[in-house]
């Protein structure tokens, strides 16, 4: 294990963490403001990726595709909120889980119906292809680096949006006391639709950007969704700060576990066994991390409220 490889893997972990943050921040906002647990969040991720791949294929421009993907995800999010989700705010979590599980089935099969079962492909845009040499001599793909930079920008943007703007003030007020901001004349339904569409757009952005690294296929949102759940549970549901720290933690632990554990087990096991056991344990690592954190802090690291 050389230092360069280690740095590269840490960067990969941060890049995964960035994706998870985009997903988790939407989930945690929707939970914090509306008290809704949304399993269908991965569907917006998938929508973003599919529309980006489709529009990029039509226009030839990745950037137009990216814009289209994010807007489509936001639009789908707004429509879903308007038709289904707003009936669920006063229901218990069981109903929310089931209804959004039903939405997953509808979205996945609907997408399969429209786009077929074979995956779509999306290439990294020319301006971001190739790799850069970082200080210390590490070669790293430019596109992945751009994702990390974008993630940092989004995190700062979200922080400013929530702490400095009128919309952010209403979101925070909504988290604290729904009835009161309604009584003060804020149109809550519109606020909820906006927050939901914002979360969907962030998920769509994650799907669109990751589409250039993986194949775009039905069901691609589900593994990310479950990781995002782990993130918000670790970070504390409803807390954006928790989502950020949880996302980076999960991203780095998961990536490094997969690289380091098989090597670690080779120290005292036969190599063939070691890679199997190492891989098995590495894939369980973040869940062990989550169980460990919840055993000591049942409401996550930065619980906002519950």
């Amino acid at each position: 294990m050389t230092l360069t490889l280690l740095i590269e893997q840490v960067l990969n972990g941060i890049q995964l963490g960035t994706m998870l943050f985009l997903m988790a921040s939407g989930l945690t906002l929707v939970f914090g403001v509306m008290g809704l647990i949304n399993l269908a969040h991965g569907s917006f991720y998938m929508t973003g990726a599919f529309v980006t791949a489709w529009v990029t294929g039509l226009t030839g421009s990745f950037w137009v595709g990216l814009l289209g993907g994010v807007l489509a995800a936001a639009a789908v999010g707004a429509v879903v909120e308007w038709t289904v989700i707003r009936r669920l705010y006063h229901r218990d979590h069981l109903d929310q889980v089931l209804a959004t599980f039903a939405l997953i089935l509808i979205f996945s099969e609907g997408t399969r119906w429209i786009f077929g079962s074979s995956p779509l492909w999306l290439n990294v845009p020319d301006s971001l292809s190739g790799s850069v040499t970082l200080p210390g001599g590490v070669e790293y793909p430019l596109y992945r680096l751009a994702i990390i930079v974008m993630g940092v920008a989004i995190a700062i943007g979200l922080y400013l949006l929530i702490s400095r703007t009128r919309l952010g003030m209403r979101i925070r007020a909504g988290e604290n006391d729904r009835e009161m901001i309604g009584a003060l004349g804020v149109d809550i339904s519109t606020l909820y639709t906006l927050v939901f569409a914002l979360g969907a757009a962030l998920a769509g952005l994650a799907g669109s950007t990751i589409g250039a690294l993986q194949s775009v296929q039905v069901g691609m949102g589900e593994p990310v969704l479950i990781l995002a759940f782990v993130v918000i549970v670790i970070g504390g549901i409803g807390s954006i700060k928790g989502a950020l720290i949880g996302a980076v933690l999960v991203g780095v632990v998961d990536t490094l576990g997969r690289v380091l554990l098989p090597g670690l087990f080779k120290l005292f096991m036969a190599p063939s066994d070691a890679s199997g056991v190492g891989a098995a344990l590495a894939s369980m690592l973040i869940y062990v991390l989550m169980a460990g954190i919840l055993a000591f802090k049942p409401n996550g690291l930065f619980a906002a409220h519950d």
């Binding site: 089931l98 209804a99 549901i237 199997g276 869940y287 055993a295 049942p298 519950d306």
Partner: protein, 345 residues
């Protein structure tokens, strides 16, 4: 908050014989219809439909397990596929080692595998009980959304473990070449296998009914309705919940063992979170916290799967629409529709 007095005595056996409730009649009706359908299909020489009936019984059994935690105990577990899959793997691994006469897990100190169903069922009960105890002990410290997520995470953990453990097939799963046996019975006969599944389902329903009418059931109901009140009455809620969660996992585990035998195959798909969702859907479609709800839900689910699946490969789209409609507009599920809203919320 609903008061304790208005519910518990009416369900307690101390009041003596009551006239059969509509729900009981419907429950027996569903059981009879399923048995009659299986026997008829067998006589007509249609093993496919007998196996379909077995599938309904098994899926219903898994639902009965989840219903104890979710319906009666109010613990929304989104990870019951873990128990379903572990039960399946117990049957699969037992048969795997019985087939080539090797010790369990290839470790020389351990006994050889077994292909006897009672041994496998007991092992499934034991293993699932232990796993459910571990998961429950950690998860029950949390509540609400955290409980949903942490049970999901534990199931995913076991799923990824099965996927990346190469000895038992990893991602490809593990075939069971010869259906596990029961002395004196031909388990390969579809009707015999159906009878076994139905007997276990009946046993689980009977036991659930007994438990829910006993002090345990009263305490579990109260733990769901008003925890503080239960504690004031001198009963600690947490051990009651944990016991219900463990029993719930064990029942679902036995269903998994049967399911593996029915398909002659066990794979990670039995552990996937979609499976957890499906078991949950069955409980909801049938009616949460109704004794025979899971049976009604299983009949509806498997019928939809077979009928719609025959018409279109996108049948899950329609399942999604039906489920959405049930959740939004028809709370109470099939039993709520047929037997009325007896159950308190």
């Amino acid at each position: 908050m609903t008061s304790l007095e208005s519910h518990i005595p009416s369900r307690s056996p101390s009041l003596g014989r009551r006239p059969l409730s509509r729900e009981t009649v419907i429950g027996w009706g569903l059981i009879l219809v399923l048995v009659a359908a299986a026997v008829f299909a067998h006589l007509a020489g249609e093993p496919f439909y007998v196996n379909l009936a077995s599938r309904i019984a098994i899926v219903a059994l898994a639902g009965v397990g989840l219903n104890l935690a979710l319906g009666f105990g109010g613990m929304v577990s989104f990870g019951h596929a873990a128990f379903f899959g572990i039960g399946g793997y117990v049957a699969g691994i037992g048969a795997f080692h019985a087939f080539d006469q090797s010790p369990l897990f290839g470790l020389s100190g351990l006994p050889a595998g077994s292909d006897l169903m009672p041994v496998l069922w007991l092992s499934a009960l034991l293993v699932c009980g232990l796993v459910a105890y571990a998961i429950g002990a950690i998860s029950l410290g949390t509540s609400g959304v955290y409980f949903i997520m942490i049970t999901l995470a534990f199931a995913q953990m076991i799923y990824y473990f099965a996927v990346s453990w190469p000895t038992y097939g990893g991602e490809d799963g593990l075939p069971i070449y010869i259906r596990n046996s029961l002395p004196g019975l031909d388990t390969n006969n579809p009707l015999v296998f159906f009878t076994l599944c139905m007997a276990l389902l009946g046993l689980a329903l009977f036991l659930t009914q007994r438990w829910m009418n006993a002090r345990f059931g009263a305490a579990l109901t109260m733990a769901r309705l008003n925890e503080t009140r239960l504690a004031t009455a001198g009963v600690e809620p947490r051990p009651i919940r944990l016991a219900a969660f463990v029993i719930s996992g064990m029942i679902t585990g036995v269903a998994g063992a049967l399911f593996a035998d029915l398909n002659g195959f066990v794979g990670p798909s039995m552990l996937s979170w979609h499976r957890s969702g499906e078991i949950m859907v069955i409980v909801i479609l049938g009616g949460v916290g109704r004794l025979c709800g899971p049976l009604a839900g299983a009949i509806l689910f498997v019928m939809m799967e077979t009928l719609l699946g025959g018409l279109t490969e996108y049948w899950q789209l329609f399942l999604g629409v039906v489920l959405l409609a049930v959740v939004l507009f028809a709370r109470g599920g099939v039993m709520g529709l047929l037997a009325g809203r007896e159950r308190y919320a």
